[in-house]
Amino acid sequence: QKEVEQDPGPLSVPEGAIVSLNCTYSNSAFQYFMWYRQYSRKGPELLMYTYSSGNKEDGRFTAQVDKSSKYISLFIRDSQPSDSATYLCAMSEWSGGGADGLTFGKGTHLIIQP
């Protein structure tokens, strides 16, 4: 089973707030975890990429992975109206020489109010 659960929102917060976006999953074989940002009528854009458990920070964005709980998070600090978009989590297994693509959550629609 490769189900990934993600609250679709919309999530509306005021400018400057800290945003927390989350995904849960059931497949313990997932090892690669990604967050994508998708603006309306655009392709998904890779934001963060992590392998296994732990934290990764990039500017205002922090990704956390807790494999024991099968739970991943994306935090956005000092949120800006330009952060308004749909955020997709994605994950994959290590499959040796092959690949089966990414399994995506359905996305959370985030609105940052000026």
Partner: protein, 114 residues
């Protein structure tokens, strides 16, 4: 640096017609993918390719055909379009040799089947 381009960006076709969606990448990535994105389902993998002349089915391959004669091109053909294939189609490529790592997406093709 063009990255991944898709054409056409918008297409309207009739039920039963054959339609080909084009995908071209300039990075020489080994792995390429086709996804469809629908409300309520998120992104789902249709087909992927590990290299030229190597393709494999994803989660929702029925009604679609792919080919990959050159590394940079990965066309997707709907042999006999149905209304259920109305969707937004995204092509992606992966920089990792395993294909399990981060993927980079094109801008999408919005297909309507009437």
């Amino acid at each position: 640096d063009a990255g991944i381009t898709q054409s056409p960006r918008y297409k309207i076709t009739e039920t039963g017609r054959q339609v080909t969606l084009m995908c071209h990448q300039t990075w020489s990535h080994s792995y390429m993918f086709w996804y469809r994105q629908d409300l309520g389902h998120g992104l789902r993998l249709i087909y992927y390719s590990a290299a030229a002349d190597i393709t494999d089915k994803g989660e929702v391959p029925d009604g679609y055909v792919v080919s990959r004669s050159k590394t940079e091109n990965f066309p997707l053909t709907l042999e006999s379009a149905t209304r259920s294939q109305t969707s937004v189609y995204f092509c992606a490529s992966s920089v990792k040799t395993s294909g399990s790592g981060e993927q980079y997406f094109g801008p999408g093709t919005r297909l309507t089947v009437t």
